[in-house]
Structures are given as structure tokens and as C-alpha cells.
């Protein structure tokens, strides 16, 4: 069967791949959205922190024999702790200033991180094997799906919706949301807002690192792996509405699908389609699809 001259098998497989890429967009844009929502910081280091997650997993495996499953927990923790330090030592000083300062600082940090890793590991990158349990694939009839890719969808959706639940449905989440609205008031009620902010930044960074570990067996682990991705993810956040949690998850998945379709019908445009959508959304709904104006 064919739709617009494209076989349904090809279409189905491209949609599934779009969903896989969308899962990465979702988890990365979620981290950015949380950080922006509470800290008002546009975290340009997000791509570098994603890369660090992948590298920490690779170093853990090759130098210390720590396997994938442990790395999935440990790498986000380690990178998250560096995030906590960055927040405590540097970002904290910028909250009273314009957004631009936070952007410049995190952009500078991204360049430094990438430079250090490039100096240490070169640019060709390192290979991370797919863990044994998830290697191989299943034939879905219309495509051969590597089991690992299926796992990526499950893992990232679980983490995304878990995070959404925590923020929207728990007491801790209520404090976070209240802190976003009016931090002085929340502070006056006896809640340690600075600690909450530190935790939030650390968590956002850990999400990036988690995505990095998920990506390690799929992509070559190299120092620039994040810088290629981060621009798209920023567009996702803008389209979803800055700071909107559910918006960033759904937009991430949706744009992954649209990108997948573009690759079927007009592959040359696949790298710009997200930005075209961004322009249209900004013209029609400047606050983003899910944002509050």
C-alpha cells in the first residue's frame, strides 16, 4: 500500500524513528523548561551536559568496568552534582541581572566543557556498545526495530512523565511551582527557596546527562554531540512555550514525528523544518503552543 507514493512500511518506520528522536528532544527540552521556569536562566550548557553524561558513562565503562545500568543512575548523579556546583558558585550571582548574563555564562561554560573534552579525547569520539540485554532487534513487519531504540522511548517517556507528575502532583512540585510564581512569598512561608533552586538546576542538568547516557550506544560519543542537538532543542522549547513542562514534552515528541515525515518527503529540509515551525508559531502565538502569555 502506498500513501503519496511512499509505502506505508517506510512511512511507519519513519514515524517510529521520529518518535525515538522525539524522545530525546522531549527529555532535553524538559530539562531546559524546568530550569527556565524556576531560575529564569536559559541554560546554554545543556548540550555540553548531555555530552558529559555520555562521556561519564563511557569512562565508567572503559576505565572502571561500570556497566550501562549503573551508569544510567551514576552518570546523571555525577553531572547533576557539577550542575549544583555551577549553580552555587556562579549562576546564583546572576539572578538579579538580565537573562542575557545567564545565557552568556552558560554558553561560556559549554565552550569550556567541550574544549576540555576535545582536548582529552579528540573529535572522532568513542564507541559505546549496546548493553547485552538490549542488543539485537525485533522484526515488526514494516521495519526492523533495534530493541535498544524501543528502550529509549520507554525510558525517556517514563522519566518525562515521572518528572511531570512530580512537579504537577506532589507537594515538592507545588513548592517549586509556587517558587516560580512568587519566590519572596514562598520564602516568607518558611520554605528554603535557594535550596529548591539549586536542586532544580541540578535535576535539569541530570536530565540532560540521562539523555546523554541513553544516546551513548546510538551515537558516537564525541565532544560536539550536544552542540549539534541543542539548537533544535531550544527551538522545541520556544515552540512549546518557555517554561511549560507538559508543553515541552509533547512538543518534543511531536516535532520528532514531523521531522521524521520531512525525512520521507523532502529530506533536504529535515534540518530546518523545526525552525520553520518555530517561526510560524512565534508569529501566531508568541508565547508558544502551551505557554501563558
Amino acid at each position: 500500500m502506498e500513501i503519496f507514493g511512499i509505502s506505508t512500511a517506510l512511512l511507519g518506520s519513519q514515524l517510529l524513528i521520529g518518535l525515538i528522536n522525539g524522545s530525546f528532544y522531549a527529555i532535553l527540552s524538559l530539562g531546559l523548561a524546568i530550569i527556565f521556569g524556576l531560575l529564569n536562566i536559559i541554560n546554554f550548557a545543556h548540550g555540553a551536559q548531555y555530552m558529559m553524561g555520555a562521556f561519564v558513562a563511557w569512562i565508567a565503562l572503559t576505565r572502571f568496568g561500570i556497566n550501562y545500568w549503573v551508569a544510567l543512575i551514576v552518570a546523571p548523579l555525577i553531572v547533576g552534582i557539577t550542575g549544583v556546583l555551577i549553580e552555587r558558585l556562579m549562576l546564583r550571582r546572576l539572578y538579579k541581572l538580565d537573562h542575557l548574563y545567564g545565557l552568556l555564562l552558560t554558553f561560556g561554560l559549554a565552550l569550556i566543557f567541550e574544549g576540555v573534552f576535545r582536548d582529552q579525547f579528540g573529535i572522532s569520539g568513542e564507541s559505546y556498545e549496546v548493553p547485552e540485554l538490549l542488543s539485537g532487534g525485533v522484526n515488526l513487519g514494516f521495519m526492523f526495530l533495534p530493541i535498544y531504540r524501543g528502550w529509549v522511548i520507554i525510558a525517556s517517556l517514563t522519566v518525562c512523565f515521572g518528572t511531570w507528575y512530580m512537579i504537577e502532583r506532589t507537594k515538592l512540585g507545588a513548592y517549586l511551582r509556587a517558587g516560580t510564581e512568587n519566590s519572596a512569598m514562598v520564602q516568607a512561608l518558611g520554605i528554603n527557596v535557594p535550596l529548591l533552586i539549586t536542586f532544580t538546576y541540578g535535576y535539569g542538568v541530570a536530565l540532560a546527562a540521562f539523555a546523554g547516557v541513553l544516546a551513548a550506544p546510538i551515537f558516537q560519543v564525541n565532544p560536539l554531540m550536544g552542540s549539534n542537538l541543542i539548537i533544535v532543542v531550544f527551538a522545541v522549547v520556544v515552540i512549546g512555550g518557555m517554561g511549560s513542562i507538559m508543553g515541552s514534552i509533547l512538543t518534543g515528541l511531536g516535532l520528532g514525528l514531523i521531522e521524521g515525515l520531512t525525512r520521507v518527503f523532502y529530506p533536504e529540509a529535515s534540518s530546518v523544518v523545526v525552525f520553520v515551525i518555530m517561526v510560524i508559531v512565534l508569529l501566531l502565538r508568541p508565547a508558544g503552543l502551551f505557554g501563558k502569555s
Binding site: 524513528i17 573529535i123 572522532s124 569520539g125 564507541s127 521495519m143 526492523f144 549539534n228
Partner: protein
């Protein structure tokens, strides 16, 4: 001043005058080489700091072996694979720092930009990293040397070997910019000329990271061979993901531009059995091994063909300056073209009128894990492609300098 002291001073002055006389033809008293390369981006492993090291090694060896009367200096810069940065830097070097030759120039767009500046300012350009054939065809000029390889030689080597061995139907995965298009075009021509068929191509954005969509298209085409008309991280990611999606080994991959650093990064498991064409392999002869081991000691990586070519070309350039007794562009170019190149990199290499350095190329196959005995033992040399066959014949040249 005592008479003895006077004599000494006079001698020194005379010597100085004498050496000045010898150096009179060298502008500024020294030969200045600029290495303009990618020091931070996707091509920094295959060229980058390794190319700078190769340049320094060439200069040190030249000074030790040939005892030149002139000084040699090196300046380096990162062109970030951007044509505007490259041409600005080249202009600045030539105008303010009196650089005699701008070298390396990985990424075709930067190379073409610098060739224009060099022609305008009458300085020499020696290119090792860039791959595209327009450098010695439509855009050729008389101050440029394209030394190590080009897309024609790669396509000719790899595509021909794979097609004649039974890989008759092809599908291309092409990086969507000048270099990818050139590589696809050259390879398609070779495939068809050898009785094969090109079923289609998909152009992917550069740089990309997820190639699964494009690979599935290639899979759906049913082609026996998927030709990778891209380079660097794009190629390594495509190979890795082809294995992941079970595309290989049912369909085979042909890496049309791969360097030993790519094989090293991927490991032998996903790459074993692949054919590729290279201008240099470190483990080919005693000479190549000896030089490469010296390189390895400093860089901790074996040299790519670009880095080995950089050494060879710089040494050849310096020898031409010495023989010509001048750093004048036309004199040095004439000497470089007149003198054959004989070193560990090339045997009887010759720079043609169109600027193309022709030398033997090698068709290699990536070893299986079980065949690899020591670190960097990656290739089996399947065939030596003689210089006369490896590169585009002058009869097909589109370079205006070639009078037909």
C-alpha cells in the same frame, strides 16, 4: 679596539654580509609557512594538531638534513571550517606577516576561498585535507597544489573495486554540500562505467547525527551497496547505526572518504570487511612505519593520509625553495613541479600543470578483529592503484590551465 678584536669583528661582518647575500632572494630573510586547518571541529582529528605536528617534523628534518641558509617559521590558525574565516586569516598572514605559503586547508570551501586570495597576492597554497575535484578543475590556478587525494581518486579506487567484485546496485547517502555532491557524482560515474547501476540517493543535512531515517530509505531501495558520500562524524554515525538496524551485513557499506582515525573511533566490529581508498597507510613499508612511529610518539595516534601528506608536501616545498634559491612564488612552483617526489609518502610523485600531485593510491580492506594483531593494525592492502590510474587523467581536465 685591539687588532685581534678588530679582526674578529671584521670577519663577523664579512660573514654576515656573505650570508645576507645568500639570503637576498628570501623575502624577510625567512620562509614562513602558515598551517590553516580545523583545530577544533569535526575534521580536527584527521588534520588539525596532527597536521601542525607533521609540519614541524618536516621543518626539523629539513633543517637537520639539508642545512638550509634561511630561517623557517611556522604560524598556525583554526579556520573552523568556515570559508570567510579562512580567507580573512590567509589575507592577514600574507599582508601583515609575509607568509609565503598557506597549507593544509581541510574542507573544500575554505580551500577554494584561500586559493582565490593566494592567486590575488601571488603566494603558494598547498592543500592536503580538502577532497573536492573542482580544486584542480574549474577553480584551478597556477599557485595551488592539491597534494594528498581527491574525490575522484577515492571514488575511482573504492567504487571500482566494490562494483567489479559484484556490488552492482548502489544507493548513496550523501552529505548535502559541495563535497558530498562531488563525491556522489564522481562515484556514480565510476559505478556506471563498471557496469553497475545507481538506484538513488538521499541527501542528509550536514552535520547530522541520526541517520536511521536515511538508512531505512537506503534499505528500502534494495541496493546491494550503500555508498557513504560523507565524512568524519557523519560517516562513523551512519556506519554505527547501519549495524544497529541490521542493514549490514545484508547490504554492504562503502565508505567513500574514511580515515584511519574513523576506523579507530568505531573499532573493527562495525567496520570489518569495508573497502576504502587511502593515499597512505602507516604499516605499509619500513619507511612508513619508521616515520609513523615518530609521529605516534608525539601525537599518540597514527597519522592519517592528510597528516603524512602534509609532512611530505612541506618537505617538498622547502626543498624547492632551497633549490630555487628563492621564495618567489613562480620560481618555487616551477621547481616543485619539475622535481619528482620520492619519500616515504610517495614514489615518483609528480605535481601536474593543474596542481594535482599524482602518486600511487592504495585500495585497502578493513581487517576482522581476529586478524588484527597489534594496536592500529587495521588494513590489508588489496591493491596498489598506480598514479596514472588513480587520478583524473588530464584529458578529462576542466582546468583552464590545461591546453588541449
Amino acid at each position: 679596539m685591539s687588532s685581534r678584536k678588530y679582526a674578529r669583528t671584521a670577519c663577523a661582518a664579512a660573514l654576515a654580509a656573505l650570508s645576507f647575500g645568500v639570503q637576498a632572494q628570501i623575502s624577510g630573510g625567512s620562509v614562513k609557512i602558515g598551517v590553516l586547518t580545523d583545530l577544533s571541529g569535526t575534521y580536527s582529528d584527521l588534520a588539525g594538531s596532527g597536521a601542525v605536528l607533521a609540519t614541524r617534523m618536516a621543518i626539523d628534518d629539513f633543517i637537520a638534513n639539508e642545512k638550509p641558509s634561511f630561517k623557517i617559521e611556522v604560524v598556525t590558525a583554526d579556520h573552523q571550517n568556515k570559508a570567510d574565516i579562512a580567507s580573512n586569516k590567509a589575507r592577514e598572514w600574507i599582508e601583515r606577516e609575509n607568509v609565503d605559503t598557506v597549507t593544509e586547508l581541510v574542507t573544500t570551501s575554505t580551500a577554494l576561498a584561500v586559493m582565490k586570495v593566494a592567486k590575488e597576492k601571488d603566494r603558494i597554497v598547498i592543500m592536503n585535507g580538502p577532497a573536492s575535484t573542482p580544486i584542480t578543475n574549474e577553480q584551478c590556478n597556477d599557485v595551488s597544489v592539491h597534494y594528498t587525494y581527491d574525490t575522484y581518486a577515492l571514488a575511482n579506487g573504492t567504487a571500482k573495486a566494490v562494483t567489479t567484485q559484484g556490488g552492482k546496485s548502489w544507493f548513496f547517502l550523501t552529505a548535502d554540500y559541495a563535497f558530498g555532491h562531488a563525491l556522489e557524482k564522481d562515484s556514480s560515474a565510476v559505478v556506471t562505467a563498471n557496469g553497475g547501476k545507481v538506484l538513488g540517493a538521499v541527501r542528509h543535512p550536514f552535520p547530522g547525527s541520526d541517520f536511521s531515517s536515511f538508512l531505512l530509505k537506503a534499505q528500502a531501495s534494495g541496493a546491494q551497496v550503500i555508498g557513504l558520500a560523507n565524512a568524519g562524524a557523519d560517516t562513523t554515525n551512519a556506519i554505527k547505526q547501519a549495524a544497529e538496524f541490521g542493514i549490514t551485513p545484508k547490504q554492504s557499506l562503502a565508505g567513500l572518504l574514511m580515515f584511519i582515525t574513523d576506523i579507530h573511533a568505531l573499532g573493527l566490529k562495525p567496520t570489518q570487511g569495508m573497502f576504502l581508498t587511502t593515499g597512505f597507510y602507516w604499516d605499509r613499508t619500513d619507511e612508513t612505519r619508521a616515520w609513523s612511529k615518530r609521529f605516534f610518539e608525539k601525537q599518540k595516534k597514527m597519522p592519517t593520509m592528510v597528516q603524512a601528506g602534509q609532512y611530505s608536501s612541506i618537505y617538498h616545498y622547502l626543498r624547492a625553495v632551497k633549490a630555487a634559491g628563492s621564495d618567489d612564488t613562480s620560481k618555487v612552483m616551477a621547481m616543485m613541479k619539475k622535481t619528482p617526489i620520492n619519500d616515504f609518502f610517495a614514489k615518483n610523485g609528480q605535481i601536474r600543470e593543474d596542481g594535482r600531485m599524482v602518486h600511487d593510491m592504495y585500495l585497502v580492506q578493513v581487517k576482522k578483529q581476529s586478524e588484527s594483531k597489534y594496536p592500529w593494525d587495521y588494513y590489508t592492502i588489496k591493491a596498489t592503484i598506480p598514479a596514472a590510474e588513480a587520478f583524473q587523467p588530464l584529458a578529462l581536465s576542466r582546468c583552464p590551465l590545461i591546453k588541449k
